[in-house]
Symmetry: D2
Subunit: 286 residues, 4 copies
């Protein structure tokens, strides 16, 4: 066998998936698949994994036990167009490779982000970094959008004039706003991409960023469907309870009275049932 090949994944290559008003995500290339992860894991475990012969259950076991290194064996390369204020948050993920369009070499294009009216919200009072559910009156929305368009146009036209006059590009650009679009090639392995998705699909992430994450999650799901499912089940949709919380409800947990048979009846594999009972025991020992 040569390259991993996945028809659904191949069909995604080079398609632009639109995000926000002018942005996009495009899968440029990828290396590996669910089976590449399994293959690498089997090198680690050698003969020891003969019994865990089924790929899906091995992937789920790896994800559950946080054996993360085999997931590093798959790579994704994206081409992304995004507003600078999103790019500034995105770049904080350091375990990735980036080539960004350079405003020192090249002329920035006239493309700015304008929020959709329904995304214009008040500051949340509960979530210090987020938006409230409360509606903003339409006239305030309209006024804001009007201001944004006008000032973006003006900023670009002045920028453009100065570039034409021959001013250094690295200077001409300094008053362009954070809503300006940039683009980059961004390459990351699947383990780190899952970490990225966990943080950026979270409701606490800025909405504009979340929209990129959701599109990328769909791509991951196509390239590595079993790993993605395991990620959703054992990581993204898992719930972590602190020792503080567990000590507080220890007595209630003791009352749960669940045994292995009951758990298997309720859908756990017998191995998961054992692990579950160990967790309950751990809680009693806290």
């Amino acid at each position: 066998m040569a390259h991993s090949f996945n028809e659904q994944a191949e069909a995604l290559l080079d398609k632009e998936f639109k995000v926000l008003d002018h942005g996009f995500v495009r899968l440029v290339d990828y290396m590996g698949s669910d089976s590449a992860i399994v293959q690498a894991a089997r090198v680690s475990y050698g003969e020891g994994t003969k019994k865990v012969s089924e790929d899906r259950s091995l992937l789920r076991y790896l994800m559950r036990q946080r054996h993360t290194s085999p997931f590093e064996m798959v790579e994704f390369k994206f081409h992304v167009k995004l507003p600078i204020f999103v790019a500034r948050q995105w770049i904080r993920h350091r375990s990735a490779s980036v080539n960004e369009y350079s405003g020192r070499y090249s002329i920035m294009k006239e493309e700015f982000y304008l929020p959709r009216p329904e995304d214009i919200r008040y500051q949340s009072t509960v979530n210090k970094q987020g938006r409230s559910e409360e509606e903003v009156p339409d006239e305030i929305k309209a006024k804001l959008l009007d201001y944004l368009v006008t000032s973006q146009k003006e900023a670009y036209s002045t920028y453009s004039d100065y570039v034409e006059q021959g001013l250094a590009r690295e200077l001409a650009r300094i008053n362009l706003p954070l809503s300006l679009y940039t683009e980059w090639y961004w390459k990351i392995d699947l383990h780190n991409l899952f970490h990225f998705l966990r943080l950026r699909m979270d409701p606490h992430a800025q909405k504009e960023f979340r929209e990129y994450a959701v599109v990328m999650a769909d791509i991951v799901k196509t390239v590595c469907p079993m790993s993605y499912e395991a990620f959703m089940d054992y990581s993204f949709n898992s719930v972590q309870f602190s020792a503080v919380e567990l000590r507080a409800i220890k007595d209630r947990v003791a009352d749960l009275s669940l045994d292995q048979e009951e758990l298997v009846k309720r859908g756990l594999s017998s191995r998961e049932a054992v692990e579950f009972l160990e967790k309950l025991k751990k809680i009693q020992d806290l």
Copy 2:
């Protein structure tokens, strides 16, 4: 204020804490403390943290919410002496800096690891990588220890002979066993050190490695007591339930009937009580 200064921590500097038979951990230097983490976090949140004025509760909030970057602001530098088979696992933690004793330049010392009799165990049948609880008969233990000592002595004496005859050191050493001790300087930030401790204090870690982790945990506790406490409460002693598990016991969780008042009575802060109820809601929505 200049350097962070913590009397208890200063008292640890340069002390050798013995581990296994010939190994040790020594804190060579450190930078920062609980307050360095708080200070960095306050730069991020700016005015927004005025209300969360208490250091301990801010540290606990950061740990709970996985705001990990402020914990990177503290550094530890250790001098460690350890058997090569432990070193081979240890070095897999890539977010650290290392300077190891070189067997190409220098002559290895005659120091080998011998397990304590009580640590000699059979292969576990439940944990594929661990040891069983079952006792090994004393005569088998004695025979093993005898073999180990004899073959270590022989390997070292042959090595020593060849080095004396002028053979290239990088060749002379190749038949030295994995029980040979090496040593290194190892520097890591607190966020990555917590990750290291989480994995290496775990019962699944090899016992010989766990003994190092436990000693290091004590050092961390002295240098950053409040962060360490938060780590134990919200990370190390937390329990994560998968979506699979939670879907299986959803109905039981619904029956828990805990409200904010009750939770606060049971020891949660009111903020934690709110977070707890959100988790219960998330489970119902799975």
Copy 3:
């Protein structure tokens, strides 16, 4: 001995070194010194370094031979205030830890970068990303500065109004320009800091960025004077010739007729003289 202590370095702590119009660099903390590097290197080389007993010559040897890991044993933590367009380039250095002021949580301050008149330049025609030497007429400079000030004021006042009206901060900020100041805590080890300085003190770096790098270089020079000197001699001020260049001038190099004695007379150590002659030989073998 406990912490490395260096009086000159201690005196720098917490001083704000002004950069640009509103920016600064402040050394918040550091760990280690020249002797910490020597100490770590000696662990690697063990007995083998007894002869290289002098610290300075060991540091110079390490730098010359690209034995970079001991330089990772020293850490610097800076507090930096800088315009966003500089921050966007700076953050590309991934081997560092960062805590940045968050415009999602907190209100940005009204501080924008305005270039000094002498820094306003045309686009260079030779260096695609830089500025020309050619003078820009004073009236064009004045007009540009006038535009910058006016549009910065306007952008801030609108931002401020919307924040006061309660608009989500993460949205209100999107039309603030790249000349806005931000601030962060930034921690990095000396090896990676040298790499940063090599790139950012280079004439190809954007001038505004270079001014930060130069201030930081001065701080490094105070904390680790011998390492800094070695960095300047063997890295920053070294010149690398490609195989293409060397093949082209091979015959001229052969004519140099320099022997060890002559080289030592001209200031090389005898070890460096040997290394120099090996390089000349390598060139003849290309």
Copy 4:
């Protein structure tokens, strides 16, 4: 276009290239090619690179100017079998992903490294970490090999016995020697792979390690021929002169009397000729 596809490279996939007595390197998968690097670089430079239209010259320019990020866009995944003493040096390259065969889970195979007689050498007196050129008498070689074989066999047979008796594998293995073979999947990007090759094809690297590096270099050359050529010309075969050296021979350099015309006649591109003259000028300014 979907995946980059390179017939020569595809032909390499899954072939085992023998190294040492029992080792091998096998290219498991790769992502990208010379053109993937060019493509990523063009995103950075945007319109600015229209003139540098030829791929080869752009790749050579990137390598020359140390614009390393586009080279991160190509990935290689290898399966390697290697003695543990080589693995211990190899793993020091942290910018890679690894899955290694685990001696805690699985039974190690009876495969040990035996040096070829011609590789058995005395310790070098000039290179503290290397081998001398001086011949070792045949009888000493024979005796060493005999010792190695015998002790490897004995160590393995005892290991095997204890494993059979059910002793914990993680304990049974501790007296296996460093000459034991292990294997791993190892994934790295091209930029970091070039760094690896630079260090490990160097004459100062341990010979056994160098043999792996040389085989991998051949694979890289097949997958990315133009990048490899640029790497050899501008990095691996370049020669760096320190400021100390250059100050010492400044007057001789001044006498070189090379101008652009002459340099182009001697094989430099006109751009390289300009860069060369700038270097000569830099030397005079030291």
